[in-house]
Each structure stands twice: as structure tokens, then as C-alpha cells.
């Protein structure tokens, strides 16, 4: 039952400028992400102590005047290590998740539109890639190419492309059966056009939600891979690696292991809150 707007009279309530409706939860998520991004950019300027320097006599020291977040297992200042770690966790994970989801979604749509042998080939290949354990994959990459940040980003994205592919392909197959695709197809449109402007707008919502979940998994896998010696080189460390190397402090509830985990949780939750509450474009324009 559609609402015909032309003749209804109505009270105009909250509609904000720019024609977008923002909700608070989304804004909270966005602000947390922005502040972590700022930290990542300006970390070298704002850290109280050099990241590698051993500054505290004791290890797993409590929060104190000169070490706001206590000290780690070697006696280095935890606050500076978390701030510097932001650059790696935020930067690498966001880059990796965007690459993984972008290529996964594009491949998924191509497979759905092209169908036939290309679809089976892609699906089978990515299924196979999915069953190779990530440790073997990580080791091969380190052995073949050596370890550096770009290699780490590529490895993380390749590990997560099959998942994004499977999800996007399932969505795209439904859209592909719609009539407006048939109309476009018999107009003679190219596969690229079908994907870019006919299918993508319809599946972008769920794909973003999937991106949110995948971001969380990538942040955790990042620490696993750098543990293998792939990527973030000492004395720097991403948050996941900070938690792993300070796990010894867990029995005493040392801040050194609590704060990196809180940092990870804050980042992952805010990313997902933002994605679940993206600002909706107000289309209800009664002129």
C-alpha cells in the first residue's frame, strides 16, 4: 500500500540539512574511529616515551603518574606502545579489509553475472584457497617475498577474499534474476556496467555489514601473522601482538594486557556500530 504524497498534508519534523538522517549511535562509532585514526597519524608526536626504551624498573607496573597505562613485560611505557600500535592495527586492518571486501565483492558479482564456467572456476578456486590453513599461507608468503607492511596487508586480504566472495555472490545471484537486469542485458550493456550500477547499489548494505564482521577477524589474525615474523617488526607492535606478549600479566590483571584488549574492542565495536547505523539518505521529499 503505497503512500501517494502529492495531496497529504503533514507536519514536518526532524529532517536535517544535507538530506541525511544521522543517528547518535552511528555518530558515536564514527567519532571513536576518527579519534583512533588521528592517534594513528600523530602518534610519533604525542607519545611520552620512545616506544622501545625501557623506562620502568619493575615490569607489569601499575598505572602511575609517569606511566599512565602502566608498563609492559620489559618495563616499557604501555601508553606509547598502544598509541604507536594504533598506526598498525587501524591502518593495516582497514586497508586489508577494504581490499579483501572490494575484490571479494567484485569477483562475486562477476561470477553471478557471467555465470557458467567462469562462475564454477572462480568458486572452486576460492573454495580451495579457503581450505589452506592461514599459517601455511603466511609462512609461504614470508619465505617467498620476505616480510613488510604491504606484504602483510596483501596476505591478510587474500586470506579473507573467499569469505567475502561467497557472501557477495549469494546476494548478487538473487539480484541477477530480476527483470531490470534482463532489460539492461538486452539493451546490450557490458558486464562491467551491470555490476557497477545495477547490482552493486542493491547489495552494498549487507556487504558493508559483512565488512564490519570481517574487520574484527582481520584485526585478530594480524597479531597471529606478526607472531609468525610476517610484518610489524620490533620494537613496534600492533595491539593484538601487545596482548599476546603481555599475556603473562593476565593473572595480576596488569594494565599492560587489559588496555590493548580494550583498545581492540573499542575499535571493532565502533566500526560495527557505524556500519549498522549508517546515515540514511532522506528520500521522502514532499516539495
Amino acid at each position: 500500500m503505497k503512500m501517494t504524497h502529492s495531496e497529504t498534508k503533514s507536519a514536518r519534523i526532524s529532517g536535517t540539512p544535507l538530506g541525511y538522517r544521522f543517528n547518535i549511535v552511528g555518530m558515536v562509532g564514527l567519532s571513536i574511529i576518527l579519534c583512533w585514526a588521528l592517534v594513528a597519524i600523530f602518534a610519533p608526536l604525542i607519545i611520552p616515551y620512545p616506544v622501545g626504551e625501557i623506562v620502568d624498573l619493575d615490569y607489569f607496573g601499575p598505572m602511575s603518574g609517569d606511566f599512565w597505562l602502566g608498563s609492559d613485560y620489559l618495563g616499557r611505557d604501555m601508553l606509547s606502545r598502544i598509541l604507536m600500535g594504533a598506526r598498525y592495527t587501524v591502518g593495516i586492518s582497514l586497508a586489508a579489509v577494504t581490499i579483501a571486501c572490494f575484490s571479494g565483492v567484485v569477483l562475486g558479482m562477476i561470477a553471478a553475472v557471467a555465470g557458467g564456467w567462469l562462475d564454477t572456476l572462480l568458486s572452486r578456486f576460492l573454495d580451495a584457497l579457503n581450505s589452506i590453513p592461514s599459517k601455511l599461507f603466511g609462512l609461504v608468503v614470508v619465505a617467498a617475498v620476505g616480510s613488510s607492511i604491504p606484504v602483510l596487508i596483501l596476505t591478510l586480504s587474500v586470506i579473507y577474499i573467499p569469505g567475502a566472495y561467497r557472501f557477495a555472490r549469494a546476494l548478487a545471484v538473487n539480484i541477477n534474476a530480476m527483470d531490470f537486469i534482463t532489460v539492461a542485458r538486452i539493451r546490450g550493456e557490458s558486464t562491467l556496467y551491470l555490476i557497477r550500477s545495477e547490482i552493486l547499489p542493491n547489495i552494498i548494505g549487507p556487504v558493508l555489514a559483512d565488512l564490519g564482521i570481517r574487520f574484527v577477524f582481520i584485526v585478530l589474525l594480524l597479531s597471529g601473522l606478526s607472531f609468525l615474523g610476517l610484518g610489524v617488526q620490533p620494537p613496534y607492535a600492533d595491539w593484538g601482538a601487545l596482548v599476546r606478549e603481555n599475556i603473562g600479566g593476565l593473572p595480576f590483571g596488569a594494565p599492560a594486557v587489559m588496555f590493548p584488549s580494550l583498545a581492540i574492542a573499542s575499535l571493532t565495536i565502533s566500526v560495527n556500530l557505524l556500519i549498522d547505523n549508517l546515515p540514511q539518505k532522506i528520500r521522502d521529499r514532499s516539495e
Partner: protein, 316 residues
């Protein structure tokens, strides 16, 4: 079983064979790329050139890798998984026991986590938009963002060290009575449930919400059906397809992904076996483990598709 499901199973078998071939070739090239071979790694620091040559000849590793791989494939076709380079024991024995352990852990975890995840997913779909729904969403994200080894280690600290209720290590082979089973599996299962339930909860919630908006659910409401009857008798049977798929994907993680839980609880499963195989460049063992993971993965998604077909009369 009518022909529709049969034809699906047959086509899936064909697909499985193709995927297995791709996996084994990919794993083969990956392993040959890794530096060093079993001989040099076993000798470790004592790896002087002649010692490595001598050992390599003894383990007939001196043949080029491609021949060994082909011989392994021929052996596979006759059902022989070959012998491990590292300890000359038949790979089948090495994998056998540990694969049963992995299945046991995966089974207990599934029995424990799937019902919880489904209930949480369905209830949050039924009460979508309510504070309960929002709490469940935030909690799911929060739980999975805590690193796995942190959950496991804190569980051990609290329950085994301080409270001494549960054993810190879970030895699968000492389980005699039911209480033993519960005590031994409690912590690894809790940790794994934390890790795999997030994906299931979100997928179930989305699938149930989608079916709740359908005309036949509205029709049930107009027949005076209560809220729970609407969800369980009308929405759920039709949402089974996507839900079962999400469950299968999450469970496939339990085969190869549980390396951290196996290490912390010292649980002898095949995830750790694969890691050992990779670090000793034990080609037959790596190949066999990769096959097991791939078969497990394909088996799970095929069963998920079959359940989806059986649950939907239109396809049956």
C-alpha cells in the same frame, strides 16, 4: 531420497574431486616454496652439508619433489596416505587418533554453541529494535573482538588455577564418566563457543527477520497465531536454508582454525598436527591434513545444502 537431492550430491562429489585436486596442487607448490626440507630441519643446528645429504638419501628425499608428490597421489588412490618423513610412522595412524579428537571437540562445541547461537539469533529477531536486540548485537561484536588466546588463558586462570574446579589440560583419552567429559571439555568448548557463535547469531537474526516480513507470516498473525507460534511454525522452517549455511561455515572453522585452543589446552587435534607438519616440511602429512580439512569443509557445506533442500518442499 528423491532425484533432486541425489543429483545435488552427485554434482557435489564431482566438485569435491576438482577442489581436492586444486588444493593438493596448491599445497604442493606452497610447500616446495618453503626454504629447507625435512632433513635440514630435523638436523636443526647440527645440519652440516654432508649430514643433510646423508639423511636426505636415507629418507629418499633426494628425488625431485614432483616425483614424490606423484608417488603420493598414486598411493592415495590405493588408499595409502604414505609415511611421514619426520618419524617414519604411517600418516594414517598419525592422523587417525587425532582426527577423532578433533571431531569430538567439534561435536561437543557444536552441540553446545549452535543451540545458544540460534536461540539468541531468533529471540533478537523476534524483538528486533528493542534494547535486548541492541545488547545482543553489541555483545556479539564485543565477544569476538577479544583475542582467542586471551579468553582461553583467562578461563584457565579463573576456573583451573584459582577456583580449581576444572582441569587446566583437556586430555581426550582419559574421559571415563560423563562428569569427566564435562570437566575436560568445559573450557575449550566455552572458548570456541565465544569465537564461532557471533557469525551464526548475526546470520540467523537476518534470515528470521527476512521471513518475518513475508505475507504468509502476516497471514498466520491474522489467523490469531501467537508471536512464538508465528516464528517457530512459520518463519523458522523457511529461514532454515541460510541459517544452516551459516552454521556450516562456522563449524568448518572448528576443523582447521582451532590451533590456539589446541595449544593452550594441550588438546591433541589435527590443527596442531598440520602446524607441526608445516614446520618439519613433512609433505605427505601436510597433503593428508589439507585433504582432511578440504573434505570436512565440503562435507559441511553439502550437508547444509541438502538440509536446505529437504526443508523447502518447493525444491524437494
Amino acid at each position: 531420497m528423491n532425484n533432486r537431492v541425489l543429483s545435488l550430491v552427485l554434482s557435489r562429489l564431482l566438485i569435491a574431486v576438482i577442489t581436492l585436486v586444486i588444493v593438493s596442487v596448491a599445497v604442493f607448490f606452497a610447500t616446495t616454496l618453503l626454504p629447507g626440507d625435512t632433513a635440514s630441519i630435523l638436523l636443526g643446528q647440527a645440519a652440516t652439508p654432508e649430514a643433510v645429504e646423508g639423511l636426505r638419501k636415507a629418507m629418499h628425499l633426494d628425488e625431485p619433489a614432483i616425483f614424490r608428490f606423484l608417488r603420493w597421489i598414486v598411493g592415495l588412490l590405493q588408499g595409502d596416505l604414505g609415511t611421514s618423513y619426520a618419524n617414519e610412522m604411517p600418516v594414517a595412524d598419525l592422523i587417525g587418533g587425532r582426527f577423532v579428537n578433533t571431531l569430538q571437540l567439534a561435536g561437543v562445541t557444536a552441540l553446545f554453541s549452535v543451540p545458544i547461537a540460534l536461540t539468541l539469533g531468533i529471540t533478537s529477531a523476534m524483538l528486533r529494535g528493542s534494547p535486548y536486540d541492541r545488547i545482543v548485537t553489541v555483545l556479539t561484536i564485543g565477544v569476538i573482538s577479544v583475542p582467542e588466546f586471551m579468553i582461553a588463558t583467562s578461563a584457565v586462570l579463573v576456573f583451573a588455577v584459582y577456583l580449581k574446579w576444572l582441569p587446566a589440560l583437556s586430555f581426550a583419552n582419559e574421559v571415563t564418566s560423563m562428569t569427566d567429559l564435562l570437566r575436560v571439555y568445559a573450557m575449550p568448548v566455552i572458548t570456541l563457543t565465544f569465537v564461532i557463535s557471533a557469525q551464526m547469531i548475526r546470520m540467523t537474526r537476518a534470515a528470521v527477520i527476512e521471513t518475518l516480513n513475508t505475507p504468509y507470516v502476516e497471514m498466520a498473525l491474522l489467523k490469531g497465531a501467537s508471536r512464538s507460534r508465528m516464528v517457530f511454525r512459520h518463519a523458522l522452517p523457511n529461514a532454515l536454508g541460510p541459517i544452516v549455511n551459516a552454521v556450516a561455515l562456522s563449524l568448518s572453522y572448528l576443523l582447521g582454525g582451532v590451533i590456539i585452543v589446541e595449544t593452550i589446552f594441550n588438546y591433541p587435534g589435527i590443527a596442531k598436527l598440520m602446524v607441526d607438519a608445516v614446520s618439519t616440511r613433512d609433505l605427505p602429512l601436510i597433503q593428508s591434513c589439507a585433504m582432511v580439512f578440504c573434505l570436512g569443509y565440503l562435507l559441511l557445506i553439502t550437508t547444509a545444502d541438502i538440509i536446505a533442500i529437504l526443508s523447502n518442499p518447493r525444491l524437494r
